[in-house]
Symmetry: C2
């Protein structure tokens, strides 16, 4: 796999997102941050706390993508099984990590580093630590798999630590234009023709619904800023030709 | 697959969620609504607007799960390719749907039912329509695959129409208790023992972080309400034994 065009898969591990108990807040964060590093997220999977599912999924996606980022399942409770599943996926022992275990032992008061907490210092053999400012328990890396917490503020702290260590790819440039009062169905045929002239760009059409009016945002993405600009200039002319008013940039949220 | 214990997979199709442009709002809605019908969501995948990826993923998950629900990619623009990919996945022609096409033709003013909009009335041969109150363009069903819009209010309208037509399973009962000032690491060992005594229940531990204090919610889920109640009674006693105050129900958001 070329590291010049790296790809990422995000694995959200946990019954709480699948049951709808929790609104996931990690997918978008990772998608945006990884995109900024030139590491586009190409797939997300949300899977339950079932050992064989975790093991099989990790082994499938770590072969397919340059990077795999997991969130969830590394806490102290019985339903936190991500860490031992990663060990099983890599076929290595799950054992106290010399640095993490010692650090956690020192951080807790005598008698409080119990069996449950010791699980958080137990990792696949060979794991490299992912530190964070929020919790004494670190995440870890095994080859191209990065194992992080599910709690958003802890995950974000881990990712901020991790980001400078990731090898990014070409930055994606994007330009946008939007128009209120423009149904997608009217501009679609013209967009198809423009997209065909810019095969290296991804021209996306995103309808929006606002109290102030419905409309559509058109976004051109690619490694060439000049191409993205030329493409959006054509879209702008198309909007004018349809008798609507093009407004540069994305529609405000 | 037993319809007594049906399962669901949600496929979110679209670059906008993978790029972080859009915060997905469909996963949680479907997870909650399907859970209420006794059709637990067992996997979610977010995949890009790439034809072969859509086709392969649909063919993989429709064999694995009782139901597959897709969102996104059925609008009029060039990046809306879900419908023709479903046809390819099922190996059937993609052609004007007699009912949907005629209905849409009648709904638009003369000359406005253009090529782009006609795509929304074009479906895999044999598709059954999924109506909705928001848009003249319907979703559709092919065997156990339900193809819906990505725009949340349209998707929700389609799902509300669809829900009475789905064969649900056993309703999942749940009981909960929470305690502020209780770290997960302290209660974890006791929870493991309780979970072991209720193998038919799913006992989940969910830490929360509030201005008013951090704590943990414990949720027991299963088909037996009596078991869930007995389990949470044991968890309540465990919390008391740890010198904390158990509060029935989930922690308020």
């Amino acid at each position: 796999m070329s590291t010049k065009n790296p790809t990422a898969c995000v694995l959200v591990i946990g019954n709480e997102v699948l049951s709808g108990r929790t609104q996931d807040a990690n997918i978008r964060f990772l998608a945006v941050k990884l995109g900024e590093l030139g590491i586009p997220v190409r797939e997300v999977r949300v899977i339950p706390d079932i050992a064989q599912t975790i093991i099989d999924t990790v082994n499938e996606v770590r072969k397919k993508f340059t990077y795999v980022f997991t969130t969830g399942g590394i806490g102290p409770t019985h339903d936190d099984i991500t860490s031992e599943c990663i060990a099983a996926a890599f076929g290595v022992p799950w054992e106290p990590h010399p640095v993490a275990f010692a650090r956690m032992e020192a951080a807790y008061k005598p008698g409080e580093f119990n069996a449950a907490r010791q699980r958080m210092g137990t990792m696949p053999r060979g794991a490299k630590l992912i530190d964070n400012a929020m919790s004494v328990a670190p995440g870890f890396q095994m080859e191209n798999v990065y194992v992080m917490a599910g709690v958003p503020r802890v995950m974000q702290s881990m990712f901020e630590w991790l980001a400078p260590h990731l090898e990014g790819g070409q930055k994606v440039e994007q330009r946008a234009v939007h128009a209120t009062g423009l149904p997608e169905g009217i501009i679609a045929d013209g967009l198809t023709a423009i997209q065909a002239r810019y095969p290296d760009l991804d021209l996306g059409s995103y309808p929006y619904y606002r109290r102030t009016g419905n409309g559509v945002t058109l976004v051109a993405k690619g490694v060439s800023a000049a191409d993205a600009e030329a493409c959006i200039a054509e879209v702008t002319a198309l909007i004018l030709s349809l008798g609507r008013t093009p407004i540069p940039g994305e529609a405000p949220e």
